[in-house]
């Protein structure tokens, strides 16, 4: 059996960090680890995966794979699974990754564990830990069909460099234009000089306590000083201070940074669902009873309009 496959999440050759996180963790399963990349003109990416331990890199390079599309990608993956029999195939729990994995799993009438925060895979057996009920419970599930399929939350695993052979394998192309049933009309990247929320090492978020653009500006200045991303609670998104794509929480993004700083956020359970697994959490809030302090490693009970400007100066020192 052909070990663990990590499906590479990329757009126009830009690889999402979660791919490297999965490669790094998969090395611990003690089995062969391969990166699987679909796209157009993507063969040159192969050494990137070898750097994080990929023993093999399966490259399916064809026009039909240029942009992610469910039909062609599923057709190709089904053919490759039949040809090479991997033990497990892991995907990123992203917009495209969960679509791909769910459709593939159903096509093969197989099980799938999505949005996993931990995985134990050995000898074709796969057990995944999932955070359910907005992170208020943890469920361990075993995928009983084969190969084992899972999608992994970004940011839960460390990226570790480790040289792999990175032997390039070129599978037969099994998809044609006839497999494409979605037309990608447009993709407008979010214009931001800041890192993506789900990939950032530092996330600074602002809530209703920011009171308006002036408070949000402080949050942005702090994020920029730390090379971080900006996020927000639903209150600040609904107020129009920040774009929808920046909402953190149950109905927004789940983030897992090294440091999360909540400014003027009460810490409603739906907000905590999106950030409570961050490694370090700091909060600035005027209300000593705010629930955000229950999950904070470092809480400051004070007015953010007084604290954040001094914090910026101190950090610059």
């Amino acid at each position: 059996m052909a070990g663990t496959w990590i499906f590479v999440e990329q757009r126009d050759g830009n690889i999402r960090k979660v791919t490297f996180e999965m490669l790094s963790e998969a090395k611990k399963f003690g089995d062969e680890v391969s990166a699987v990349v679909f796209g157009k003109g993507v063969e040159g990416l192969a050494p990137e995966f070898a750097k994080y331990g990929a023993d093999k890199v399966y490259v399916a390079d064809a026009d039909v794979f240029k942009d992610y599309n469910t039909g062609a990608y599923v057709a190709q993956m089904v053919a490759m699974i039949n040809e090479y029999s991997p033990n497990a195939v892991l995907f990123a729990h992203t917009f495209n990754g969960r679509d791909f994995a769910s459709r593939l799993a159903q096509k093969l009438e197989a099980g799938l564990a999505t949005d996993a925060i931990a995985a134990e895979i050995s000898a074709g057996k796969g057990v995944f830990t999932r955070a359910i009920y907005a992170g208020k419970a943890l469920s361990k599930v075993e995928v009983t069909s084969s190969p084992v399929f899972g999608t992994i939350r970004a940011g839960v695993w460390e990226v570790v460099e480790g040289a792999g052979a990175g032997e390039v394998v070129k599978p037969a192309i099994a998809a044609t234009d006839a497999d494409v049933y979605q037309i990608l009309k447009d993709f407008t990247p979010t214009v931001s000089a800041r890192p993506d929320l789900t990939e950032a090492d530092v996330v600074v978020s602002g809530g209703r306590g920011c009171k308006g653009p002036e408070g949000i500006k402080m949050v942005e200045d702090l994020a920029d000083l730390l090379g971080g991303a900006v996020g927000g609670s639903r209150a600040s998104i609904d107020s129009g201070w920040l774009g929808h794509e920046l909402q953190v929480g149950q109905t927004g993004k789940v983030v897992n940074p090294n440091l999360y700083i909540a400014c003027g956020i009460s810490g409603a359970i739906q907000h905590l669902a999106g950030m409570s697994s961050s490694k370090f959490i700091a909060a600035v809030n005027t209300d000593t009873e705010a629930p955000i302090f229950n999950v904070s490693d470092f809480g400051v009970v004070a007015d953010m309009f007084k604290v954040v400007p001094i914090l910026l100066e101190e950090l610059k020192k």
């Binding site: 999402r16 469910t70 729990h93 917009f95 969960r98 679509d99 769910s102 459709r103 799993a105 159903q106 009438e109 197989a110 099980g111 999505t114 949005d115 955070a131 359910i132 009920y133 907005a134 208020k136 943890l138 469920s139 361990k140 599930v141 075993e142 009983t144 990608l184 009309k185 447009d186 990247p189 979010t190 993506d196 000083l225 730390l226 090379g227 929808h244 794509e245 149950q250 440091l259 359970i269 370090f280 959490i281 700091a282 600035v284 000593t288 302090f293 490693d297 470092f298 809480g299 400051v300 009970v301 004070a302 007015d303 007084k306 604290v307 001094i310 914090l311 101190e314 950090l315 020192k317």
Partner: protein
């Protein structure tokens, strides 16, 4: 055209989770329509108001309790409901098989769903349903335009906004920012009581995943909390960020 909406009954998002006999206890929990599905129901009703849809059918798989989710959707303005009776232990695969069987029978041109269930949601069911039916699926939509047998969907993708076109029939799963679901009116609630709801048994399907264990996350140890003058606190916070978190300042 006929629009079908998949609605799941879930725990209220405020619910406190407790375990009983190794399972999540339902005792004392307020059950609601999954918030994303509420948005899908609203989307369906708006299509009817715009005379694009002529019937909105809601389908829920689960126990008798799921009937409340159907009634809520009917009170909002959906026309008819179907309860697919299924054991709560059914996994995503088994649920998709059961829902798809009913949807096939109904033969709608558009299937709406939420993109994830707020309880133990997997973000799988609508995609699986689409695969079984051989329909395209578009996920996490914030806008939907229907014309000439096609659906043009705007989605919140990673790193940007995506516009995708698919032919109908299709499955489309909603993000909450698509619309603002209405509250059922008194009149709506009264009318809902008279709207037809049928009950069918789920087709049998074997689970493909097994729950090994359910637990609660480890309790977080209390952190530092400073109630000092802002300037003093800010300096200590900066120290902690530099020395404990080891942030890099650009």
């Amino acid at each position: 055209m006929k629009v079908l909406v998949c609605v799941k009954q879930t725990f209220d998002t405020e619910a406190k989770i407790e375990l009983k006999d190794g399972k999540i206890s339902e005792a004392g929990i307020n059950l609601i329509i999954n918030p994303y599905d509420e948005v899908a129901v609203e989307g369906g009703i708006q299509l009817k108001e715009k005379k694009i849809a002529d019937e909105v059918v809601v389908v829920a798989a689960g126990s008798d309790k799921a009937m409340d989710a159907i009634r809520t959707a009917l009170a909002m303005g959906a026309d008819r409901g179907i309860l697919v009776k299924q054991d709560s232990a059914a996994d995503e695969y088994a649920r998709a098989v059961a829902l798809a069987a009913v949807i096939k029978e109904e033969n709608p041109e558009l299937v709406l769903a939420g993109h994830v269930a707020a309880d133990d949601g997997s973000s799988q069911v609508p995609t699986r349903v689409a695969e079984i039916l051989g329909f395209p699926h578009v996920n996490v939509i914030t806008n939907l335009e229907l014309a000439d047998g096609k659906a043009v969907c705007t989605s919140e993708a990673d790193g940007g906004t995506q516009v995708t076109e698919v032919s109908l029939p299709a499955v489309v799963s909603s993000q909450v920012s698509w619309n603002e679901p209405r509250y059922p009116s008194m009149k709506g609630i009264m009318q809902a009581k008279k709207k037809p709801v049928s009950t069918v048994d789920a087709v049998a399907a074997e689970n493909k995943v097994a729950i090994v264990e359910v637990g609660l996350p480890p309790a977080k140890t209390a952190g530092i909390k400073l109630e000092e003058e802002p300037d003093v606190a800010a300096v200590k916070l900066a120290d902690w960020m530099k020395n404990t978190v080891k942030v890099e300042v650009k």
